[in-house]
Amino acid sequence: MTTLVQTLVDTIALGSLYALTALGYTLVYGVLRFINFAHSDIFTVGAWVAWSFCGLFGWLGTGSPIFAMPIILVLAMATCAALGILIELLAYRPLRRAPRLNVLITAIGVSLLLQNCGQLDWVFGRQGQPMPALVEDRSLFMLAGVNIRLVDITIVLLAGALMVALERLVYGSKVGRAMRAVSFDERVASLMGINVNRIVSITFGIGSALAAAGGLLFALKYSNIKQPADTTWVLLGLRAFVAAVVGGIGNVRGAVAGALLIAFVEQFGAAYLSANMRDLFVFVVLIVVLLVKPSGLFGKAVVEKV
């Protein structure tokens, strides 16, 4: 029973983090029709930037003030949004009309660039760092013998709030309507007076900000940050990415559902089957879903026109 509840808690917390990252993949795919491989590295950069800001303000030790968390969160999200917009401007915009394969290779290049530049001594360095406890590390209450930690509650609440905000943005605002229009048909959208480049920039910014929030929350949950090119990050990004694909890439609600499903498969597989094989389960789910329904669980099948 304890294992079950603990696994469930981890599933929901991790699922929210994956969802935040998966949303970035899905948003970008929605407007540009390509998979932004560099997105998982924005997640990493988010965690590291948060750590750097903590160092800047002298909050690396214990006992940081209660207002540290929102400040760091906003700064990390803003930095990563700027980074995302910059990447789109420099690397992806020149390739807007290029074949998709070229854009994909460029995205891999950007991903490698971020990882390896992050490892340079004058950026983040090659050592992992402990993440200060911006959210007090204590248990709120006990549920069936399991400590429900404040961090987990924060993650779920914050991620939920961000997702609701995104939902309101996409479906209830002028910018969101423009995003959906660009996603539907870029050319017609631009004929209707929508500045496509601006919308694409905004999309990248939003996606990157969400990833940064995810990175910060992830670092808080596990209270340490691995070095920027560590395989943990790559695998984490891959899981979020798998979540987006499984949920039907380009579909905002599908990404959240996919993230929870992937977190469920990973956590329960690790708890009840084999802890070392968690990635195996995730990729098996991916391959099965892609083979049975390539457009994902909630995606629409697209017929390629000549």
Binding site: L95, T106, L112, L120, L235, V242, L286, I287, L290, E304
Partner: protein, 424 residues
């Protein structure tokens, strides 16, 4: 031949007349392989002994990189099926080959591995034959995996296929990491087939494989026994065979089909190309040679056969070679593979100069990957088809101006057929 002749004889008869003499045809189709053998032999017997051991190792690394990158070129470059799990095939081939040579040396040849046994049976002796057999076994195992991975390519394309190949590589890595340790030579002598196939050394590495692919030139000790392996010979033999096969593939029907699928699948299908078959064939072929490359890697001196070594980053390294060299260009990929293998060393030698120039100490290893990544992005933006595009070395202007005339003069008439005079 008069006009009357032409009318009375059937097409089949006239075609037979155009075919070369079978003996001539056999020689013509075999000579590139003969030349490959000669080159490999010269590299092993003449060039390698003249080099420092370090440079000879570099030569080996280049050879193996060429095998791997060229095999990826078949599926990525020619067929346009973006695969980022190529190291997975390498892993399968490498482990299969390691199993064959490790247990083969102990069980078939009765050699107590673990102690330093440099050569088993001399050049082309039982040890070398076992090694060659292991390369083929590794290739076959990888080819079967290629068939399995190629099948999803029928349903998926572009980025989705890339993800599946990536997932395949990751699944393999996780599976191999779970395996128990390799039994010691003493235990291996009694091991059954199940143990052989499953004890792969886990997350650490497959230990105990004899190093057949070592840069040491043939050496003889005082008593006339050979103490080195002909690693460079075997590596470049495989390089030669692979390159000739790829060249013929590219210029033959099958290769044209691959390129058609790459350019536009729907159009290719409309032209009567069996796209499913073409794509799966490309995967199987590429996987076979990746497996052979993995087998070479598994027996290389100083290489660790571990799941970590053959992970995602290895696949990306190979993709970079193909993309920079030119997707679909045989010689371009060869040049890129050679250049990128040498580059880290080059950077290491250049580092002190750069340090002097800017006054800050530079660690070249730290800047290697950022440089690669930047090159990848810039090539994609400025020259999306890669440095060579689909062209070959001999399509370049300076080659046509200087090398082609000289080569025709030397080889025309016996190695390459002279253009008939009566044709315009």
């Amino acid at each position: 031949m008069s006009a009357g002749d032409r009318r009375t004889r059937s097409l089949a008869e006239r075609v037979t007349e155009l075919r070369p003499n079978p003996l001539v045809a056999a020689v013509r189709s075999a000579w590139p392989f003969v030349i490959a053998i000669v080159i490999a032999f010269v590299l092993q017997a003449v060039v390698a002994p003249a080099m420092s051991p370090f440079k000879a190792k570099m030569l080996l690394d280049i050879g193996i990189a060429i095998v791997l990158a060229s095999s990826l070129n078949i599926v990525n470059g020619m067929a346009g099926q973006f695969s980022i799990g190529h190291a997975g095939f390498m892993m399968i081939g490498g482990y299969a080959a390691a199993v064959v040579t490790y247990y083969g040396s102990i069980k078939l040849l009765g050699v107590p591995l673990g102690v330093d046994v440099p050569v088993i049976g001399g050049f082309m002796g039982s040890g070398d034959l076992l090694f060659l057999a292991s390369c083929i076994v590794g290739g076959i195992f990888a080819a079967v995996a290629g068939l399995v991975v190629g099948l999803p390519s029928l349903r998926l394309r572009g980025d989705y296929l890339a993800i599946v190949t990536l997932g395949f590589g990751e699944i393999l890595r996780v599976l191999v990491q779970q395996t128990p340790e390799v039994p010691s030579p003493k235990e291996a002598a009694e091991a059954g087939l199940g143990t052989m196939m499953s004890h792969l050394g886990g997350a650490l590495s497959f230990t105990g494989t004899p190093t057949y692919v070592s840069p040491t030139p043939w050496l003889e000790n005082a008593s006339g026994e050979q103490t080195g392996h002909a690693g460079i010979f075997f590596t470049y033999l495989i390089v030669g065979i692979l390159l000739v096969l790829i060249y013929r593939l590219k210029t033959a029907n099958q290769g044209r089909r691959l390129l058609a699928v790459r350019e536009n699948e729907i159009a290719a299908e409309a032209c009567g190309v069996n796209t499913s078959r073409t794509k799966v064939t490309a995967f199987v072929l590429a996987a076979f040679f990746a497996g052979v490359g993995g087998a070479l890697f598994a027996h290389e001196l100083g290489a660790t056969l571990s799941p970590k070594e053959l992970g995602f980053m290895k696949s990306i390294d190979l993709v970079i070679m193909v993309v920079l060299g030119g997707m679909g260009s045989i010689t371009g990929v060869v040049c890129a593979a050679a250049f990128l293998t040498v580059l880290p060393e080059l950077l290491r030698t250049l580092a002190p100069m750069i340090t002097n120039l800017i006054g800050v100490s530079v660690n070249p290893d730290a800047y290697r990957m950022p440089l690669y990544a930047l090159a990848l992005i810039l090539v994609m933006i400025l020259r999306p088809q890669g440095l060579f595009g689909i062209r070959e070395l001999w399509d370049l202007r300076w080659w046509k101006r200087y090398v082609t005339p000289a080569w025709t003069k030397i080889a025309g008439g016996w190695l390459i057929p002279r253009a008939p005079k009566d044709r315009p």
